[in-house]
Symmetry: D2
């Protein structure tokens, strides 16, 4: 599968381009009121993303509430994605779990179901150090899985920041094929970009929705924006403006998307960052008619009526609802 | 099963005593050289702990490298424990995973295999808040599982500290039946003890090996000491001294165990806290002839020859080897 | 002066005793409504502490709002203390500031005004490492000041935890004469106690008000309790019970003081830990008639009427007000 | 003085421009071998910066080792700056200290010596919260000082991140005249830029040397780059490229400066971030012949011979030495 995936990824590739680039939303996982995966909603969501021009879909990322999904639910998500995408773009699958052996199991399941590439964090909960333990972790993952592998740097969840030298070494050694940087540390991401410039295949994506133009300006290959679930076309246009070097136009797109990002701040006190942020995405998708409910996995609560009204207001302001 | 377990736990119970007390080691998971669970070694280890007088065994805790075990390996560990213990003491099972629904699955498997009680952390990786999200988490766990449930407060791994008021509320409401406190925050643990004094059934254990006498002095019901794998009799004698109010004798036991705790500091630079600490336990158990290898789960490395010699030296100093 | 001070400290000293021990409150700094040091109130407070039997006074600690005092205000505090104490017990002076050279200046002023010993944290704000930079810091301080020097380990404020090995090395080398441990990490403090057992002069104090009996049980020489401003006699009795090995009586004292510690939790939301905790102390001292106002340094706000009523209620419950 | 300063700042100001913009290096403080301020070296350094076209000088920032300077040394630094600058550009003075009243004292001294504007962090060491305590802090500073006031957001040192809403509120209320953002959080800085867009006078500077072009692209008014001590002309050219909208040229400048930033990574293990980073700046200035020594304040150590050779190598690579 990985071969097919890589081939797919490289179809639109130009010389000196990485194996994958563009806008690759970390797809939300819609739920039924009973908190099972809502398959028709997920199909609609993926179809919507494809129609709007995304370059890939990242299933089982943080925005997919993956930390809250059982293994069975994870399988459903990957199955639906592979079937709905039907080879049009690569399907990336996150391996969110604590350590190497557990991630290897997730990798086997995802690849077996047809995923094209894998995205893995450093270990967490476990008290490991970098290097050599984080280094050994990624090497063991790559050796076990074979497929294209992106490191997922998300210190807010994992409580480890991948170092520039570690990522560069693993890229040089062919262990990592890319980086999804959700650290918010633009300076460090830029240093990775410089340190891997001689590796044009290595793909670097920012996970920070509000600085995609900056990331592109310094050499990133695209973005994995959670907000891209809600307005994929806005992000695709932003990406295209950056690729064309139209930085003023890019900034205008980006600033509109910053306003839209206000949907992640509509929750009332007592909701955590996950319930507030992902809850904002899901509520917006519900209001746009793409998914059926804004239900959130336990122990989160869904946004209520007043919070939903606040989300609606932001959608109206940004032209996504009338 | 929970009923049997609770019955077992309460067999030796005196009026005003909690449902469980004493020394309950978080049992290490021995590995074969191929990094599968070494069943004969695990059986020997559990038998050794029982012979030395422990009050229960806590399988699938942090010391069991649970974060590194696949679900299949976890099942093996619980099966072996239930069979080997054969009802002599309660078998507690940890639910180490990111969120509520995943922990509920682990709970179902562990209870189905015969575990008597469950031990659960707050969610991690997921960005939840306390209260109300952590509160809702424990209530959902209890509702789904029914069995005796201990909160596992281990901020170094989970990056959340359970608050005194949260634990006290959940204890009062019958959601939590106990607390394993591995926060190292004796002041907060003591406040929990005072806040739950009217609930004599509520059981409080310290996970800090070197302050067990302090914890007992302020009212804890026992300890879940990782180092108890290596010298369970030392901890049982320490516990009994505390119960008898022989604090000077308790201190002598405790200080000897502090010296023994030096086995967790024998690793060379580059090993994380887990590889160094748990590696010290496993190496000592190997040197004592109880388990076959000191192999560690990926991406950790086992202690090498020089490190093993340093562990041996500590065992000699503390009278565990000659 | 240091000679006199040391002599004073050693007056009541028994063989094998450290140079100082017992209850040494970190004295609050009362303010006038205009936020200047209220000298008559400070004199009354120190007199009250002496009357109740404290073994020393620690001026310019965190409880003295020292971080908020100008250098001129700090001088007033030390002057008043030296004059009021008049050699009855040692006067310790904190050197709270960012780095070595600034602390050396504070040390010179405090010793010039008659302080007997100094208490210094690791550098903060500055991005230093340990060792060798923290090590070099304490050595430079000692070389410049000559006077007895205690390390002040307070990671919540300084964001560095002094390591066991660092403290033990500096104690062995005669750089440090003692430790005020406000880290809350009883296990680490106990390791320091064991590591310095061959240095009977080295004095170890806990700054955690609610675990003084534990600290004494494991070998500490006393406490520097902020709450000791409010009920010094309670802490002296607790200390004496511990020295007599009457641990049950000690626990009774300690638990009553835990209830009294509730005065630090009377503040309404929006007040920081300093305004809430130190504000509780000052309000209690005002209600007991010892200081004139509960004014707090900028940018803190004093406790208001409802908060003051809550503090009063705790004082009544614990027998300090009727 | 503040009036003159503001007038100076506004001399080159265009309509809709903030009161200050461009490259404003946080000036290093050269030392004699005896660790006193090396006045001739400081004069040469400031003269060099002016010759290369900086828009202002920021004395007593983190790069000036201000946390390590006594008050007397701080006075010397400001005096030398005011005299050397002689009104050509504004002189900004940092107020680095723990709390409001101490910062007000520093402000009075700096303004009395002729500084034009002030730069202040949130309180540190003190356990305050935001809002309302951090809010009250800045309001009290502004009320006491009157001069133009920039907030200095540097969580790595202060351990508080100023929130977007807090900065925006203080800007709207005329308390803050600008922001020096050394948080590295480009997303948050950009939100501040959007939130203050209706306040064209409000000036926003990034303190992150390697993302100045990004910061300018999203609307910042300039940079306060520590590395600007070493190559001020490089930063001025970078700034001018950004102002001209020549983003490709800007990126070329920026990437060369990233290579130069390697001088902050030449230190051997054991040196903290301050000794390594600021030590790299000072060593480069020494090698360029601008300051006499690379001495560092206690408890830091200066870079040694091998480290100095590594710095020299970077200077050669980037064309600053031949």
């Amino acid at each position: 599968m990985a071969n097919v995936a890589t081939a797919t990824a490289r179809a639109g590739q130009q010389p000196g381009e990485p194996w994958i680039s563009g806008i690759i939303p970390p797809v939300c996982t819609p739920f039924t009121p009973e908190l099972e995966v809502d398959v028709p909603s997920l199909e609609r969501l993926i179809g919507f993303l494809l129609d709007e021009g995304v370059s890939g879909v990242f299933m089982l990322g943080s925005s997919g509430e993956t930390a809250y999904l059982t293994d069975g639910q994870r399988d459903v998500v990957v199955e639906v994605a592979v079937k709905t995408v039907a080879g049009q773009v690569p399907v990336l699958a996150g391996l969110i779990d604590m350590t190497t052996s557990r991630m290897i199991e997730h990798a086997g399941r995802a690849l077996g179901l047809g995923a094209d590439a894998l995205v893995a964090t450093a270990p967490f909960y476990a008290l490991v150090t970098e290097p050599p333990e984080v280094d050994r972790h990624f090497r063991a993952l790559k050796a076990a899985c074979g497929a294209p592998l992106l490191a997922y740097d998300i210190p807010v969840a994992v409580h480890t920041k991948l170092s520039v030298s570690e990522v560069a070494t693993l890229a040089t050694d062919g262990v990592l094929d890319g980086l999804k940087d959700s650290s918010g540390d633009m300076a460090a991401m830029r240093e990775v970009i410089l340190a891997t410039r001689s590796l044009p295949e290595f793909a670097i994506f920012t996970g920070s929705e509000v600085i995609v133009d900056c990331a592109m300006q310094v050499g990133a290959n695209g973005s994995v924006p959670g907000l891209g679930n809600v307005d994929p076309r806005g992000f695709v246009e932003l990406y295209q403006s950056c690729r064309a070097g139209e930085w003023d136009r890019a900034r205008t797109h980006q600033e509109r998307l910053m306003t839209l990002f206000g949907i992640t701040r509509c929750a009332e006190p007592g909701k955590g960052r996950s319930a507030s942020g992902l809850g904002g995405f899901k509520t917006a998708l519900m209001l746009r008619g793409i998914i059926a409910t804004n239900a959130m996995a336990l122990p989160q609560a869904a946004l209520g009526d007043a919070e939903t009204a606040a989300v609606r207001q932001v959608l109206v302001e940004t032209g996504l609802l009338s």
